[in-house]
């Protein structure tokens, strides 16, 4: 890649940031060039972000309909899945899946809720609600 080929078309997932790319200058030296990002990067990042947002939105609607616990929404809103929430909270995956059932979630003791709240970095009372 030559210096003048470094993508500068912008990438809204980068915000105001620029990332360092290596490219060849006029003298043939490989140098660092700050890049505003490319449409390619934006496409694949948004694809991943959209997928996670869609999961969270789907969970939010099911939680509103009483089909799942708000915990599922918050798990996806924090870009986690059951496996990651399990590692972060130290609660076994099969227990988390049970806790996603609304009637079981409603009966959870304070100390279990506290562990979820910490893992998701949420105040305890928000864990029981939806935005």
């Amino acid at each position: 890649m030559d210096v003048n080929e470094v993508p500068q078309e912008g990438n809204r997932t980068l915000g105001p940031h620029r990332k360092a790319l290596y490219a060849r200058d006029e003298q043939g030296r490989m140098v660092i060039v700050p890049s505003c990002g490319s449409e390619v990067d934006e496409t694949v990042t948004l694809q991943a972000v959209d997928r996670m947002n869609a999961q969270a939105e789907d969970a939010r609607q099911r939680a509103q309909a009483g089909l799942t616990a708000p915990l599922e929404y918050w798990m996806y809103a924090r870009r986690m899945d059951v496996a990651l929430l399990s590692q972060t909270s130290g609660i076994w995956q099969w227990r988390i899946r049970r806790h996603l059932q609304p009637h079981r979630f409603a009966r959870l003791p304070q100390r279990v809720l506290q562990r979820y709240a910490e893992a998701l970095s949420l105040p305890l009372d928000r864990l029981r609600t939806l935005p």
Partner: protein, 330 residues
Amino acid sequence: MTAAQSAFQHRHAAHCESGVAANLMTHHGIALSEAMAFGLSSALSFAYLPFVKLTGFPLIAYRMPPKSILKGVSKELKTRFHFETFGDPAQGMRRLDELLAQGRVVGLQTSVFWLPYFPEDMRFHFNAHNLLVYGKDGDDYLISDPVAELPQRCASADLQRARFAKGALAPKGLLYYPEHIGSREIGADAIRRAIVKTVRIMLGPIPIVGVRGINMLANKVARLDTSEHSLNYVGHIVRMQEEIGTGGAGFRFLYAAFLQEAASITGIAELERLSERLNEIGDGWREFALKAARMIKGRERFDPPLLAGMLRTQAGREKEFFQALKRAVA
């Protein structure tokens, strides 16, 4: 802030670990570029690991595992790093404050997700991010994150959360700094050794690593159907290649920069030509990314066998390239 800390120079880098290694060693008086840190530690690689899942997709790495750059640099420069992890977050933060008060610049392993200065869309649960802390101002830590263009600030509660995130590759508050630097010169021998090691990895016999790994991934892509999931899979490959701090084309451009420096230190002129050639191979990776992105956007028909063909071409070019590289340093 002490005089030593205010003399600290932040340099923008493509990759967090090579950037941290270069900036930290340079702070200690050894002129080390990011590209040299990357090449000297034989960090270039390719690995397709179907049994390690990231958000449901296999891990596709264009470099060696986390920490190998720090280890490689410390070995070649005969530097002893002090590494410390903590069971108790509060203690980990106290220790950091202590070291900063002594005037040190300290390396940290953190999660990306909990760092507030990262762009929202780039915050994923990746636990092996590296950054340097060079001071504290009130409750804010002064941070040199090599993948950020300018120095950053981070409140202590956020930094604590990032340092003690749990999950795969959990940092456990890891901090590090060089204790003793034995060698201040980067010798031609060390460079030659590092290149030989990279060649061995790229041309090695393990089917999921190196050139064979690229072919393995190509076979997997060739078998994809045209579902949404397959499109996500292809997007995931491109994301690993371009988005996760690689300096472009899965570190190929960064390694080309290293080969150029290596040519002038070792006096092997052939390395200069090989650097050019790797730059062109990098362009091939970018063409693959562009093609994939057009398919994801729906501007072109999604054609997995076509993408697989491009990957096989890349594998073929890299095979010839690393064979030539082997001859050049023999």
